[in-house]
C-alpha cells in the first residue's frame, strides 16, 4: 500500500499525519509519501530582477519547506518504524498532490480539512475541496 499525505504547514496537517500513521501501522507493507506543495503559478507576472533570482529563491523555498514541514514529519514516521519519504513541489496545491499520487500509483491521499478562510476560498474553493472534487485517487479528509 502506498499513501500520499498532503501537508499544508499548519497544525491541522499533524492530524492528517497522525491518521495516516495509524492506517500504515495496520497495514503489512506501507510506504508513506509526505508531500508539501508551494503555491505557484507559471502564469504569474514578475519583474526582470525577480526572474533573475528565481532559481535561487526556489531552492530557498524548497529548503525551508523541507526543514520546517516535511523533514520533521518524515523523521516522525520513520521513528515509528514506517517506510516514509518526502516530496516538495511548486504548483497548484490540489493539482500537484493529485498528479503525484497518480504518478506514484498511490492507493490513497490523506489531507487535513481545509483551514483556509476568506474571500479567495469562497470564490475559488479551498485546495482541499478542489482536491476532493478532482482527484483521480481516493481522498481521505481528516477532520
Amino acid at each position: 500500500m502506498k499513501l500520499v499525505i498532503g501537508l499544508d504547514g499548519r497544525s491541522s496537517g499533524e492530524k492528517a499525519l497522525a491518521f495516516a500513521k495509524n492506517l500504515a501501522k495496520k497495514a503489512d507493507d506501507c510506504e508513506l509519501i509526505v508531500v508539501y506543495v508551494i503555491e505557484w503559478s507559471p502564469f504569474s507576472f514578475q519583474t526582470a530582477a525577480e526572474n533573475a533570482e528565481r532559481h535561487k529563491r526556489r531552492e530557498e523555498e524548497i529548503a525551508i519547506a523541507r526543514e520546517r514541514v516535511v523533514d520533521p514529519a518524515v523523521a516522525d514516521l520513520k521513528a515509528a518504524g514506517l517506510n516514509a519519504r518526502a516530496i516538495v513541489r511548486h504548483g497548484d496545491v490540489a493539482d500537484t498532490i493529485d498528479s503525484i499520487a497518480h504518478s506514484e500509483d498511490a492507493s490513497q491521499i490523506v489531507v487535513a480539512r481545509s483551514s483556509d478562510g476568506g474571500l479567495t476560498s469562497r470564490i475559488f474553493g479551498s485546495s482541499t475541496a478542489n482536491l476532493v472534487m478532482n482527484a483521480r485517487v481516493p481522498v481521505t479528509v481528516v477532520a
Binding site: I38, W40, P42, F43, S44, F45, Q46, T47, A48, A49, E50, N51, A52, E53, R54, H55, K56, R58, E59, E61, I62, R89, H90, G91, D95, T96, S99
Partner: protein, 518 residues
C-alpha cells in the same frame, strides 16, 4: 550699483507677485534650462544616428533595422510563421517539465519582456508615427513588426544560450554576454570591445527611452488632467517611487504594478475594440487609408517615404526587435533548449506591434482626429508643415487620448492611469537592463549597483522636466545605437542559432521532444 538696482527690483517684484506664481516662474525657467542644456549635450549623437543615406532623406539606421529583420527572416526561412503554433504551445506550458515548476516559465519570461516594451511606444509612439507619417505609417509599422519577430527570435535564443549562471543560483544574460562569449567561441576577434560598446549604448538607452521618454510622457499626461505645472515635480515623485523599488527593495510596489499592467493592457485593447465596434462601418475605410497612405503618403510630409520612415522607426522603438533589450529579460527562463525561448520571444513584436500598435493607429484614424482636406482627400499639414494638422493641435499621447475620448468620454482618465503605470513598469524593466550593462562594465557589487540606480533616478527628473522634442530624439538615438552593435554581431552569430534550430526541429519532428502530460 546696477547690481543693487537689480536686487531692489527683484525684491519689489517678489513682493508684488503672489508667492506661488513666483515659484512657478522659477520652476519653469529651470525646466527651460534643463531642456536647453540637454538638447545641446546630446545633439551631435542624435544627428549621427539619424543621418540620412547620402542623396536621400532616408535615415540609415531605419534601413539598418529593416535590412537586419529581413535577413533574419530569410536566413531562418520565415521562422516567425513556421513556428508560431509551437511558440503558443511553449507559452501554454505544453513542453514544460512539471519537475521544473517554480522556475521561471516561458510565460513569465515573455510577460516580463512585454512589460518592458508595451507602454508609451504603443500609445504615444504610434500617435507620433500616424501624426507625422499619416495612416500609411501603420502599414510599415505592421510590416516592421512581422519582420522584427525574426530579429527577436535570433537575439533571445542567443541570450539564453550564452547567459551566465552563477553558483548562487542567479543568472545574467543579454547581448553583452553573447557577443563576448559567442565571438570567443567562433574564434572571432573584437567580441569584448563590441560587448563594451553595446553596454555603453544600453546604459544610454536605459536612461533615454527606458526612462526620460517615459517620465516625460507621464508628466504630459498628468498635466492634461491637472493643468500645467513644472515637470520636475512629477520627476521627483516618480524618482522617489522608482528609488523605493530598485534601491529600497520595496517589492510590493513593483508587484502591484506587475499585476495591474497586464490588466491595463487588456483594458486598453478592449477599449480600442469597443471604439472599432462602435465605428464598425469605418473599419474598411480606415484600412483603405492605411494602404493608400502606405504607397502614396496621402499628402504627408516626405510622401510615402515619410510614412515608411515613421512606421519603421516607431515600430522599432515600440517592440525593440534587434535592439537587444529583450535578450536580457528573456535570459532568466528555465529551459534546456535555448531555442525554445527564441520561439516564445517572437510573439513579442506580434503582441506589441501587430496587435496593440495597430489598435492605437486604427482608433486614431477612425476617430478622424487627423484633418483631411475634403477637396483633395489628402491630409492637411500643420502650419510648420512638419506633421498632419489635428483637431485640437494634439500630438503624441494627447492625440491618442483625444481619439479614445471622442468615442468613450471617460477613457482619457483611464488612459492617463495606464500611461503612468506603463511608464513606471517600463522604467523598472529598463532600470534592470541598464543595470546589467553597468555591472558588465564595472563589475557586480552593491556600491557600483547603487551608483547606477541613483543616476537612473536623477534622469527621471531630467526627463520629466525637458520638453518632448530633445527627449524623444535622444531616446530613439540611444536605443538605435544599441541595435547598431547588436545586429552587427547577430550577423556573425546567426549560424549558431541556425544550428540550434536545425537540431531542435529535427528532434521535434522525430518525436524526441515530446509534450508533457500534466
Amino acid at each position: 550699483m546696477k547690481k543693487f538696482q537689480a536686487i531692489f527690483f527683484t525684491l519689489i517684484a517678489s513682493l508684488a507677485l503672489a508667492v506661488p506664481a513666483r515659484a512657478q516662474e522659477a520652476a519653469l525657467s529651470l525646466d527651460a534650462r534643463v531642456n536647453e542644456a540637454f538638447a545641446n549635450a546630446t545633439g551631435w549623437f542624435v544627428n549621427f544616428i539619424f543621418m540620412s543615406i547620402p542623396g536621400t532623406n532616408f535615415p540609415w539606421i531605419v534601413m539598418w533595422l529593416v535590412v537586419g529583420a529581413t535577413v533574419f527572416t530569410i536566413y531562418f526561412a520565415a521562422v516567425q510563421f513556421r513556428f508560431f503554433g509551437h511558440a503558443i504551445a511553449l507559452v501554454k506550458g505544453d513542453y514544460s517539465d512539471p519537475k521544473d515548476a517554480g522556475e521561471v516559465s516561458h510565460f513569465q519570461a515573455l510577460a516580463t519582456a512585454l512589460s518592458g516594451t508595451v507602454g508609451l511606444g504603443n500609445i504615444a509612439g504610434v500617435a507620433v508615427a500616424v501624426g507625422i507619417g499619416g495612416p500609411g505609417a501603420t502599414f510599415w509599422m505592421i510590416l516592421a513588426g512581422l519582420l522584427g519577430m525574426a530579429s527577436k527570435f535570433t537575439e533571445c535564443t542567443l541570450g539564453v544560450k550564452y547567459r551566465n549562471e552563477y553558483p548562487d543560483g542567479t543568472v545574467s544574460g543579454g547581448p553583452m554576454y553573447y557577443i563576448s562569449k559567442g565571438f570567443d567561441e567562433l574564434g572571432l576577434p573584437g567580441g569584448k570591445v563590441l560587448a563594451v560598446m553595446f553596454s555603453i549604448f544600453c546604459i544610454l538607452g536605459a536612461l533615454g527611452g527606458g526612462n526620460m521618454f517615459q517620465a516625460n510622457q507621464a508628466h504630459a499626461q498628468i498635466t492634461q488632467i491637472t493643468g500645467d505645472f513644472p515637470g520636475w515635480i512629477t520627476g521627483i515623485v516618480f524618482a522617489a517611487i522608482v528609488f523605493a523599488v530598485i534601491v529600497g527593495g520595496i517589492k510590493s510596489i513593483a508587484r502591484v504594478t506587475e499585476k495591474v499592467v497586464p490588466f491595463m493592457g487588456i483594458l486598453y485593447v478592449g477599449a480600442a475594440i469597443v471604439v472599432l465596434i462602435v465605428n464598425y462601418e469605418m473599419i474598411g475605410w480606415a484600412f483603405g487609408q492605411i494602404f493608400a497612405g502606405a504607397f502614396t503618403g496621402l499628402g504627408v510630409a516626405g510622401g510615402f517615404v515619410g510614412a515608411l520612415i515613421q512606421g519603421f522607426r516607431r515600430a522599432a522603438f515600440s517592440n525593440e526587435a534587434g535592439v537587444g533589450s529583450a535578450a536580457i529579460a528573456h535570459s532568466a527562463v528555465k529551459t534546456n533548449e535555448p531555442i525554445t525561448e527564441g520561439f516564445v520571444s517572437l510573439l513579442e513584436p506580434l503582441i506589441d506591434t501587430v496587435v496593440i500598435c495597430t489598435m492605437t493607429a486604427l482608433v486614431i484614424i477612425i476617430s478622424q482626429q487627423l484633418i483631411i482636406d475634403q477637396a483633395t482627400g489628402n491630409y492637411m499639414l500643420n502650419e510648420a508643415g512638419t506633421a498632419i494638422a489635428t483637431i485640437d493641435g494634439n500630438s503624441g499621447v494627447a492625440l491618442t487620448s483625444a481619439a479614445f475620448g471622442s468615442a468613450i468620454s471617460w477613457f482619457p482618465y483611464v488612459l492617463s492611469l495606464a500611461v503612468i503605470l506603463f511608464a513606471f513598469s517600463t522604467m523598472i524593466s529598463w532600470s534592470y537592463y541598464g543595470l546589467k550593462a553597468w555591472t558588465y562594465l564595472f563589475g557586480e557589487g552593491k556600491t557600483t549597483e547603487l551608483v547606477f540606480k541613483i543616476i537612473f533616478c536623477i534622469f527621471i527628473v531630467i526627463g520629466a522636466a525637458a520638453s518632448l522634442g530633445p527627449v524623444i530624439d535622444f531616446s530613439d538615438a540611444a536605443i538605435f545605437a544599441m541595435a547598431v552593435v547588436n545586429i552587427f554581431c547577430l550577423y556573425f552569430l546567426m549560424k549558431v542559432v541556425r544550428k540550434e534550430l536545425n537540431s531542435y526541429s529535427a528532434r521535434l519532428k522525430s518525436g524526441e521532444i515530446k509534450k508533457f502530460t500534466h
